[in-house]
């Protein structure tokens, strides 16, 4: 499983020559994500255990872990949009 994205780079260039470069340090949210992940996994594991004991097995824990894996795999995503007046480039690193 990859680590979650660390930085989101946003480049905006306007036709008039104005440029904007945003470097969003997403890594500062990692502790929050870790906390949310921990709580999510604990809740999912509890739900799985309760449902299993009731004879209705579910895989909520795997689902939550899968969600975190998908978030980690967003690294490398790049979106580039261009029109006559503006160019926007978003990169997830």
């Amino acid at each position: 499983m990859n680590a979650p994205p660390a930085v989101v780079d946003v480049h905006v260039a306007e036709a008039g020559g104005r440029r904007l470069h945003l470097w969003l340090p997403v890594f500062v949210l990692w502790p929050l994500l870790l906390l949310a992940g921990g709580l999510g996994i604990a809740a999912a594991a509890l739900a799985d255990a309760v449902l299993f004991s009731m004879g209705r097995p579910h895989r909520f824990t795997s689902f939550v872990l899968g969600c975190f894996e998908a978030v980690g795999e967003t690294r490398g995503t790049q979106v580039f949009v261009e029109n006559e007046s503006r160019t926007v480039d978003v990169t997830v690193r």
Binding site: H58, A70, V79, F80, D89
Partner: protein, 141 residues
């Protein structure tokens, strides 16, 4: 791009352009490099090994262009996630998809199928040309 960068720096060193002009040129060079990297993703010709990215390229005659580069590992993780969706939710999703003309049972999607699907994406290329000249291209490289 390295040669151009060196040339700009040497122009600054020789005093032919100011440091501010040099900085502006370097910014422009960097921006051009970024745009080129996205606008012209690697071609599929001669590519070896497993594809790493899926490219979606939209070129509009009105000048609106969109290029999206998605890691295939994200596609894989997303597909894997579908096999973990709780059965009740899956029933609803399958029903909604069938209502919209996509009668695919996502619960039948197994891990091996996902790997096979990702592997076969390498050979896939979707190229749509509209009547007004807009072009949509989806491929992996």
């Amino acid at each position: 791009m390295g040669e151009e960068r060196t040339r700009i720096l040497s122009l600054v060193a020789e005093g032919k352009i100011t440091a501010e002009e040099g900085s502006r040129l370097l910014d422009a060079l960097e921006a051009h490099g970024t745009q080129t990297a996205v606008a012209e993703p690697p071609t599929r010709t001669g590519s070896t090994g497993a594809p790493k990215f899926m490219y979606v390229k939209v070129v509009s005659v009105e000048g609106d262009n969109v290029n999206v580069k998605i890691p295939l590992s994200l596609v894989r993780a997303g597909l894997k996630l579908t096999s973990l969706i709780p059965p009740q939710a899956m029933e609803q999703i399958n029903k909604q998809m069938a209502d919209h003309g996509m009668a695919i049972d996502l619960s039948n999607l197994k891990h091996e199928d996902i790997e096979e699907l990702i592997e076969s994406l390498r050979e896939m290329e979707i190229n749509v040309d509209s009547k007004n000249g807009d072009n949509v291209r989806v491929y992996c490289a």
